[in-house]
């Protein structure tokens, strides 16, 4: 790899403000939005007293796609998993601070995680369909939440979810086949269909395209673009191109800190923080 390419700077646009120093760890940019869907205040996560992320303040707006980028181990996935309390399943994980949803802290002791996770769905990095039929994969969530009463409603839901996930045409003849028999990209779309089948309000996506080829990635990106009309989507991605293509706002994480948050265009064209610029220009990460 040519060294100059990987560390080369973007040409600074004239009249640009000086960058914030690398040592500065306060969040740069507008963290708050009007009428947020979820609002995180001073969120910190510790794994057995080892700090993973700290002091994150970030609002997630309605019907927006917010991308989280950053080098490996920067805490972006950890932060994402806080939003539907998936970190609860990890032994020795402690979450501090507040995450407000509809004015209620989801980490309050009286909050039930089961309805929370129905409200805030998740798509994981590795496609993880249940080892059941395609049909049952989609129907499962709705069944346990009692969203469907009979077979007709279930059929309708399954077909609708698969259509919205753009998978219907590929699987309509083999709904009884196991979900694991699909290709990687189809499996991931099945997982998205499964997530939207319970009609969540927020969908969290943890590097949903990292194991997919470019064509499957393009299909899923298109899908995300359509879904944002109805859902709020928070997506963690390693691909800066992907973040710039699909998101309205982008958050840059670095070593457990939220370094910079802003409109996607600004982050990629005119970052305010030196660390952000280092990352998007490929100086590291």
């Amino acid at each position: 790899m040519n060294q100059e390419q990987t560390t080369g700077h973007l040409p600074r646009r004239p009249g640009r403000r000086p960058l914030v120093e690398r040592t500065e760890r306060e969040t740069v940019g507008q963290t708050a939005v009007e009428n947020p869907r979820m609002s995180c205040q001073n969120v910190g996560v510790f794994y057995d007293s080892k700090k993973a992320i700290s002091n994150i303040c970030l609002d997630i707006g309605r019907n927006e796609v917010i991308a989280m980028i950053g080098p490996s181990g920067c805490g972006k996935s950890t932060f994402l998993r806080c939003l539907n309390r998936m970190n609860d399943t990890i032994e020795g994980c402690l979450v501090t601070g507040q995450i407000l949803m509809d004015g209620k802290n989801i980490y309050d002791s009286d909050v039930d995680v089961v309805p929370l996770r129905a409200q805030v769905g998740m798509v994981f990095q590795k496609p993880n369909p249940f080892p059941k039929s395609i049909y049952d994969n989609i129907a499962y969530g709705a069944r346990i939440h009692g969203l469907v009463q009979n077979r007709d409603e279930t059929d309708e839901l399954v077909v609708g979810s698969l259509k919205r996930a753009g998978l219907w045409n590929e699987v309509k003849d083999r709904l009884e086949m196991p979900g694991t028999s699909l290709s990687g990209g189809q499996q991931q779309r099945l997982c998205i269909a499964r997530a939207i089948a319970v009609n969540p309000e927020v969908i969290l996506m943890d590097e949903p395209c990292s194991s997919l080829d470019p064509i499957a990635t393009a299909i899923i990106e298109e899908l995300i673009d359509e879904l944002k009309q109805d859902y709020t989507i928070a997506i963690v991605t390693h691909s800066m191109q992907q973040a710039s293509r699909i998101s309205q706002r982008t958050a840059y994480f670095h070593q457990g800190d939220l370094i910079e948050i802003g409109p996607t265009d600004q982050i990629f064209l005119n970052p305010l923080h030196q660390l952000t610029e280092d990352y998007i220009t490929g100086r590291f990460g």
Binding site: N84, G121, N128, P131, G141, H145
Partner: protein, 431 residues
């Protein structure tokens, strides 16, 4: 060490491929050697196994045959009262039938030897026959009765005619009588149904495996019904729900220790707890099953836990991520995936339980029990204990019975494992 100079090419640089090629032969030799070791190990273990099978089958197959003697019995109306069949002296009729074949036997001692040619069960056979064929009373009938075990052994070739008479179980006169019976076609070997339908007996020709078979069956039912749910539930709780702290660590260590405790200790525990403290009856499958449950639990728990551990965590996350509660996640997604592995563990545990002898000795299942148990609280014995009992018996005929019982035990084991593998395959297919 490589001669680098030799490897140098025209440019004076060592090419990696040359070094790789130089070492290739050595690597392949190593691989071949390893394969040979592996094959040898498999062959050795297979040959020991076949040795075991050959010796057991060659010793035991004759137990499935029984020598029968044909007697012409005159159903004397003076001996049999038509209205009171049960009280008739059937032995006398058998003895008379034998005497009619050998009228020259007159001395009391010789007569006793003559009567000893047929099994004591001959009289019962005759009684059963008469009860079924009342109209034959007063006529002469032909009936096949089991031969005595010594005659049986002689016919199966286990008694050497060349040994001195004093050391032989059958003396020269008896030999002559038997030879005469053979010449007259009054002796034949038939399939030994008694072996599969009777309980234990002091007389080898009357002893059967059925009692022990049912004893084992009832004992294993108790063991299965108790150990699989308890073991499975314990494993699921420890693996999926319990917090990981010092207490669960202690529990885990102790479960692993329990798996290594000698089985006789479980027998003593069962004796102290179930018999002495709870006052349950001795020698019954219920207590045997309880004791074997104690013994099998650690195996099942350990196997089930590793089966649960092997379920990828992505499945758990998928379940939780869609909003399933923890119990739903475990019941709907983790357990179906882990069940084949849990079943395998249970099979191993049950196979151990089937072959276990020592703990059952302590709770009295070693008793000599003739009746076939008809329930969980009937005194009974089990297959391995029956094998132990027969192997301990002095009669030559019990030797073949021992091997035959081992065969029955192995078949029982194979059937059990076959059913479990069938269930597991079906379960794997569904997912």
């Amino acid at each position: 060490m490589y001669n680098l100079k030799e490897l140098n090419n025209a440019q004076g640089r060592v090419r990696t491929i040359d070094i790789v090629k130089k070492g290739l032969n050595r690597r392949y030799r190593k691989e071949r050697r390893f394969r040979i070791f592996g094959c040898a190990a498999v062959i050795i273990s297979l040959s020991f196994l076949s040795l075991l099978f050959i010796s057991i089958i060659s010793n035991g197959y004759t137990a499935f045959l029984q020598t029968m003697v044909r007697l012409d019995v005159f159903l004397d109306t003076r001996v049999i009262d038509k209205d009171n069949l049960a009280d008739a002296n059937y032995s006398k009729l058998i003895h008379e039938a034998l005497l009619s074949v050998y009228p020259d036997v007159t001395k009391h001692n010789d007569r006793r030897k003559l009567y000893g040619l047929v099994s004591t069960s001959a009289a019962y056979r005759l009684r059963t026959f008469v009860a079924k064929n009342r109209h034959d009373i007063g006529t002469r009938i032909q009936i096949w009765v089991p031969a005595d075990d010594d005659v049986d052994m002689l016919m199966k070739g286990y008694i050497d005619r060349d040994t001195p008479e004093s050391q032989r179980r059958i003396d020269d006169r008896q030999l002559a009588w038997v030879d005469q019976l053979v010449r007259q076609g009054q002796i034949k070997k038939v399939f030994n149904m008694t072996f599969f339908t009777a309980g234990d007996s002091r007389e080898p020709e009357l002893a059967g495996i059925c009692g022990a078979l049912f004893g084992s069956f009832y004992t294993l039912i108790v063991t299965l019904v108790l150990s699989f749910p308890i073991g499975g539930a314990a494993a699921v709780y420890l693996e999926e729900f319990a917090p990981k702290n010092r207490w669960t660590d202690i529990i885990e260590v102790n479960i692993n220790n329990l798996a290594a405790v000698p089985s006789i200790v479980f027998g003593l525990l069962g004796l102290a707890v179930f018999l002495n403290f709870f006052g349950l009856p001795r020698s019954v499958p219920l207590v045997g099953g309880l004791v074997l449950t104690l013994m099998t639990l650690p195996t099942i728990i350990i196997a089930s836990r590793s089966a649960l551990k092997a379920v990828p965590s992505s499945i758990r996350e998928a379940g939780l991520g869609i909003g399933a509660s923890k119990v739903q996640m475990v019941a709907h997604h983790v357990l179906p995936q882990a069940l084949p592995g849990m079943l395998t563990g249970t099979i191993i545990g049950m196979s151990q339980a089937l072959g276990e002898t020592a703990p059952l000795l302590m709770i009295g299942m070693v008793a000599f029990i003739v009746d076939i148990p008809s329930g969980f609280t009937d005194p009974s014995t089990v297959l391995p204990v029956q094998i132990y009992l027969w192997a301990d018996s002095p009669e030559r005929a019990f030797l073949e019975k021992t091997s035959a019982a081992i065969m029955v035990l192995l078949v029982f084991l194979m059937v059990m494992n076959g059913v479990a593998i069938f269930l597991r395959k079906r379960f794997e297919k569904r997912h």
